[in-house]
Amino acid sequence: MTDSSKPRTSQLLPDGQLAPLLASYARSLRKSRLRFLGFLATMIALTLLAAWVAEISPVLFFTKLGGFTSYFGRLAHLDNGTLVWTDPVAWFWGWKRWLRLLGETILIGYTGTFIGALLAVVMSFSGATNLNKNSVTRFIVKRFFEFCRTVPDLVFALVFVVAYGVGPLPGILAIIIHTIGALGKQFTELVENIDMGPVEGLEATGAGRVAIARFGALPQVLPGYLSYTLLRFEINVRSATIMGFVGAGGIGDELMLSIRRFYYADISAILVIIIVTVYFIDILTSRLRYRLQGAPSS
């Protein structure tokens, strides 16, 4: 983007000195372009392979995509053909029942987060390299965390529904297990990064392991713990909305029924309720997190 009408003020190098520089620039540019092309080709090949495995063709994609707008059109209409927002009373006809189920969902998320976080706090100290010198228990705790967070919470819920019976209890337990895994890892990392000064001070007074964890480590990690727990609460409420799909309580059961039975207005009403709730919890928890000092950003 040079402007030729302006006088040239900067001094160019003589051609003899400039040529090798230009050549090396061109070489490095060619190299980085080749690398980018290679990356692009690999990605395209992988995408095609994945599409072949998942049995997706571009033709299918475009023929089915038309259904998307018509589906959302149906979501926006009541049974008598009027738009949903013109008649909110008819749209939210089941609001009493839905609000109760929503409360159940939030309660499942809260209980699961609370108990899971408490257990994760206790276990995080024995998982941390700097507080627990016993590598065997440390290994066990860390692998346990990994197992809890890798198996999806819905799989736990499926198994628990068979064991404990249909209802919110398996949902709560599944969320507890997943929370232990997810928070346990983050908590342990926080403990491993503390300032060891207070811990050494307590060791010098002859304090036991519990006292060291309580007075040496906990005050340092508490803001981080709370912040991660709030973040997890939001995630857990969201996953509590789907626990009902497998019979583990909450609003998911109702949502699945209306989707399976094509009650379009009900689907959109429940979705609106879920979106608004999650949205508010998101705002609330992020406000609280900003207030805590040293809040982790993500």
Binding site: M1, T47, F114, F147, V159, V162, A163, Y164, I275
Partner: protein, 281 residues
């Protein structure tokens, strides 16, 4: 606490007199703490009452769960090993396509939502709120909706992961763009570069490593979510897992879970290595 006799015993009474704040917090603070604990615990009591949970149910269920765990060993695929392996391949393919598709879609939209790229507040707010709305709905709900649109199968799964990740990526990419250093942008502007040039040569090089890192991280976490979207019929290993749990074939369930764990561990390794290669940490 036992102090060796050679040291003078600490005079606790005198110490609490001179340092009241250290030796014992005030009644106000203590009661505030207790009140906060009661407040935090009350939903738990409510849950116990409202859900009608009983100790008998807890004990009975836990005993039964213990029996299931015993029945899980030794894990066996029965005669379905290749079927499960193919389904796992499908799961990984769903996760891959969903992640790539979401990232490709989210990049242009995050440009529309970033404060330092998009000058119109209205557009920014609309795009950001759309990201939030999409993010509030769980992947599995999206899967059910997409099944209603395109029918049962892995295609619905891909679209579900693509949709929910679009919201998450959009938010993350926007934040990355907004926290980018302004110096390179000023540099480009000072040489007479336009908006497009500053995007390409000042912003993109800054956000690219972060974006690639996020995509790789999401690919790993999507492999995990893709294992369960089969539960509602959106393809992958989830359907088999659901069937085997419902028919109480615990040995096969255990085998499938182990297969999932191994797959996720492999993907985790690959994505960590690639992330290191791209970002250098």
């Amino acid at each position: 606490m036992n102090f060796p006799k050679i040291w003078p015993q600490p005079d606790i009474a005198a110490m609490s007199k001179s340092y009241p704040a250290i030796m014992g917090p005030s009644i106000v603070r203590r009661s505030a703490t207790i009140a906060l604990c009661v407040l935090a615990l009350s939903p738990l009591v409510l849950a116990w009452q409202m859900f009608g949970i009983s100790w008998a149910q807890l004990v009975h269920g836990t005993v039964q769960l213990g029996q299931f765990v015993v029945l899980m060993f030794p894990p066996t695929p029965s005669r379905f090993f290749w079927l499960f392996l193919y389904a796992l391949g499908e799961t990984v393919a769903i996760a891959f396509l969903g992640t790539v598709g979401a990232a490709v879609l989210a990049v242009p939209f995050s440009l529309l939502a970033a404060r330092n790229v998009m000058p119109f507040t209205l557009v920014r707010v609309v795009v950001k709120r759309s990201f939030d709305t999409i993010r509030s709905v769980d992947t599995l709900i999206w899967a059910l909706i997409w099944i209603g649109v395109v029918g049962l199968g892995p295609f619905a799964g891909v679209l579900a992961i693509m949709t929910s990740d679009f919201g998450a990526f959009g938010k993350l990419f926007t934040e990355t763009l907004e926290t980018a250093d302004t110096k390179p942008v000023e540099g480009i502007a000072s040489t007479g570069g336009g908006a497009l040039a500053s995007l390409r040569f000042a912003l993109l090089p800054q956000i690219m490593p972060v974006i690639v890192g996020q995509i790789l991280y999401f690919f790993e976490s999507n492999t995990r979510s893709a294992t369960i979207i089969g539960v509602v019929g959106a393809g992958g290993i989830g359907l088999h897992l659901y069937e085997e749990i419902r028919t109480l074939e615990w040995q096969i369930v255990c085998f499938i879970v182990i297969m999932i764990l191994i797959t996720v561990a492999i993907i985790d390794q690959i994505s960590t290595r690639l992330r290191r290669a791209f970002i250098g940490i």
